[in-house]
Symmetry: C2
Subunit: 208 residues, 2 copies
């Protein structure tokens, strides 16, 4: 789903630029050349210039980038200036880690509710949010302005859950299960996090 | 660090093949054509044939792939047949999720110890493993056959920890922090999981 003509590889580098620029800004750096940014990011100046040129450039030859200006521009490209409401499904270990570990508000989302089917977890607090029963999802999504769901639940349970969420109008998913949402529903946006794939990739690299 | 001449993009698709083939095997499927595998994986037959040809092929024209045979071969390429011992640093929410969520043994690793600096967590059990104090890391790593560390700790604390782990001989890292290990130590293998980058990518795709 990238911007027309911009490869998904470039898109996936944008958050990294945004992260480094946020750190530079926090350190009080005002300007940076593509060469210096490249050294910092283990990249090359030409890669950075090429990537940013996909979105219009932002730099001035021989002058460098304005750190806060470029950060803001990339933030806008990513859509971080506009907050979407999201719910989290699953308050087990993974759901707890996601809820407590991520700064949703800085990443373009507001986490407004958490749902769980395990009765032992329902009613507990997580990031200041009371964990609700799965049974309340439909009413909640319909009554509130929710367009995104984070799925921290076992693969086996996801298909039924997706049917429900899709039925309520949710079209964006951050999915930690191995269930392939976009295979069943073609008009959804799904970003998948496959932790086990990442660990296998490490295992492969260790042998090279 | 890919096999010579094989792009990292192909490497990153191997775990996904492995996952699908494992599921097919569990369902009792014995043979599958590249066309059918492609339909299942939302890929194309030519992509699959191309990817697998990087490692020698494994299929027979007009016959299809042996599911268990191909799964085993890809497992070998990934190195899953040989188990490496790993420790986890950090028993907070993220560490707990990693320890309980991942089948390390099926992914080429054995999680043998967990370390934490928070005294409230030291001594608790996690996946049947007693959480030890950070102070015990060096002695433990030296006394045991550890070559990998999983880092589930804040970025600020990682640099000092890496210096310690590198000093003990650990060269492989599964890193959930935003600290760039391979920038300081060039002879390490580091696989980074940047959850916030993934969430920002979703935010981007929602706007397209």
């Amino acid at each position: 789903m990238p911007k027309e003509g911009v490869s998904m590889l470039v898109i996936r580098r944008l958050p990294r630029y945004y992260r480094y620029l946020s750190e530079l800004e926090a350190e009080g750096v005002e300007k940076i050349s593509s060469t210096k940014l490249a050294a910092l990011m283990n990249s090359t100046a030409s890669q950075i210039r090429q990537d940013l040129n996909c979105f219009g450039g932002f730099g001035q030859q021989g002058y460098g980038y304005s750190v806060s200006g470029l950060r803001e521009e990339i933030g806008k490209i990513l859509g971080l200036n506009e907050i979407h409401h999201t719910i989290l499904i699953g308050a087990g270990n993974l759901g707890r880690a996601i809820a407590t570990h991520l700064n949703f508000e800085q990443l373009g989302f507001r986490l407004t509710a958490i749902f769980e089917k395990d009765t032992k977890l329902i009613g507990t607090m997580l990031r200041g949010i009371k964990v609700l029963s799965d049974d309340e999802i439909e009413a909640y999504v319909k009554a509130n302005d929710i367009d995104t769901a984070v799925l921290a639940m076992p693969k086996e349970a996801v298909e039924k859950m997706i049917d429900k969420l899709y039925g309520c109008g949710i079209r964006s998913y951050w999915n930690f299960s191995h269930y392939d949402i976009s295979k069943k529903y073609h008009d959804v946006v799904a970003e998948n996090v496959h932790l086990s794939d990442s660990l296998m990739t490490l295992r492969y690299m260790m042998n090279q």
